[in-house]
């Protein structure tokens, strides 16, 4: 099973950051039989995309064969793409990647609801909700 964490620099000792779509990189941890087998750091080329960064990040992780995502916050579009692909999303911001993976495996992490416009499906008008929900000045750069 592959688990992806949104990170700034990447690696097991790096901290899971709150942002998803515009995270600088993802640390992808391969777990087998409850123990960590492999760690890969993937640069998020869409971090500076003018739009649809969350969607593109979700696509990247789908293509990587990830089945769980550890992050802090994500927008409704990214959330819908991930859940359409059967990928579960867990709240783990502030923990190290290693700690987050271990806690996830022990079932100690909670799921995340999409920020802004939650539960409204994939209709329009969700862009605004995203900015509001992400907070901390991260969603409004463009």
């Amino acid at each position: 099973m592959k688990i992806a964490a949104s990170t700034a620099k990447g690696g097991l000792d790096d901290v899971v950051i709150e942002i998803f779509g515009r995270a600088p990189c993802f640390t992808i941890v391969e777990v087998d039989g409850g123990s960590i087998k492999d760690v890969e750091v993937v640069e998020n080329e869409n971090a500076r995309a003018s739009g649809g960064a969350g969607i593109a990040a979700a696509q990247l992780l789908i293509d990587k064969g990830v089945s769980c995502v550890l992050t802090g916050n994500l927008g409704p579009n990214a959330y819908n793409v991930l859940s359409s692909a059967g990928i579960k999303v867990y709240e783990a911001s502030g923990m190290t990647v290693k700690e987050a993976v271990e806690r996830m495996l022990r079932g100690e992490l909670g799921g995340i609801a999409p920020s802004g416009g939650g539960g409204r499906g994939m209709g329009r008008g969700m862009g605004r909700g995203m900015g509001r929900g992400m907070g901390k000045g991260m969603g409004r750069r463009f």
Partner: protein, 267 residues
């Protein structure tokens, strides 16, 4: 003849100038500021509208999930899952690349309503046509393009503020551009940028100063920059009052007529 009224900085008086120029020149008014079309506030009459669409992709059954659509999309509007393709029409810019490049020809264009065009009739005369963008749409440009297609050959165009795509798209339709500025550092700063944009579009243009009389030497600065001042609206309480009541500046009729005459000579 089509005269575009633009500014760079917002709130300098584009709509004021456009409405009065239209009224006193007899040229029909078009409000291209489709994100906030407010020229209609000056009119009371019957409205007739029609929808504006733009094409977005829809995935057909013969899709084999090859992912070309996702790779060519510059806006991340297409996602390819293991068993299906998801399109985000609100993010799509209608470039058509995914449809054109799909090896299976599995994608087709479908219409998405993005706004409407409204004709305003006063005493059965269509004095104003404005566009209105749907909430959440990425770009006003397709609505502006739709309005341009059916525009009459004589028009005053109330442009969107700024100097980005919507303004450029609006100004491109015109034979002459009036840049409205007020005597402030901010307005002058943005006026220079707007003038650069209009110059690079190779459109003849002139400046109308609104709130003329405020303590800032805009006229002299325009002269230094090689910008021609074509008209002035004095900074007077009665204009603010008339504007806030949606009334025309009847006492400036001659001023607007002379602006119109000057434009006619220059075009």
């Amino acid at each position: 003849m089509k005269i575009a009224v633009a500014s760079g900085k917002g709130g300098t008086g584009k709509t004021t100038v456009a409405v009065n120029l239209s009224a006193f020149s007899g040229l029909k008014l078009y409000d291209f500021d489709v994100e906030e079309p407010n020229a209609r506030i000056f009119f009371s009459g019957e409205e007739r509208d029609r929808p504006v669409y733009r094409p977005v992709p829809e995935v057909g059954e013969n899709c084999n999930l090859c992912g070309v659509c996702k790779d060519v999309c510059q806006y991340n509007a297409v996602v390819v899952l293991k068993d299906r393709v998801i399109v985000f029409p609100e993010i799509c810019h209608s470039c058509g690349a995914c449809i054109y490049l799909c090896p299976e020809k599995a994608m087709k264009e479908v219409d998405r309503k993005i706004g409407r065009i409204v004709d305003v009739f006063v005493d059965n005369k269509n004095l104003l046509t404005y566009g209105e963008l749907e909430i959440g749409e990425v770009s006003p440009v397709p609505v502006i393009k739709a309005m341009k297609k059916e525009m009459e050959k004589d028009a005053v165009i109330d442009c969107p503020p700024g100097v980005s795509c919507p303004m450029v798209e609006s100004v491109k339709a015109a034979d002459f551009v009036i840049l409205v500025a007020e005597p402030t550092h901010f307005s002058f700063h943005d006026l220079k940028i707007a003038a650069d944009v209009v110059r690079s579009l190779e459109k003849p243009f002139g400046v109308v100063i609104n709130k003329y009389g405020l303590p800032f030497e805009l006229e002299q600065r325009c002269e230094k920059e090689g910008l021609t001042v074509m008209g002035k609206i004095p900074f007077r309480k009665e204009f603010a009052e008339k504007y806030s009541r949606g009334m025309l500046f009847e006492e400036l009729r001659e001023e607007f007529e002379s602006i119109h005459d000057a434009v006619r000579e220059l075009v």
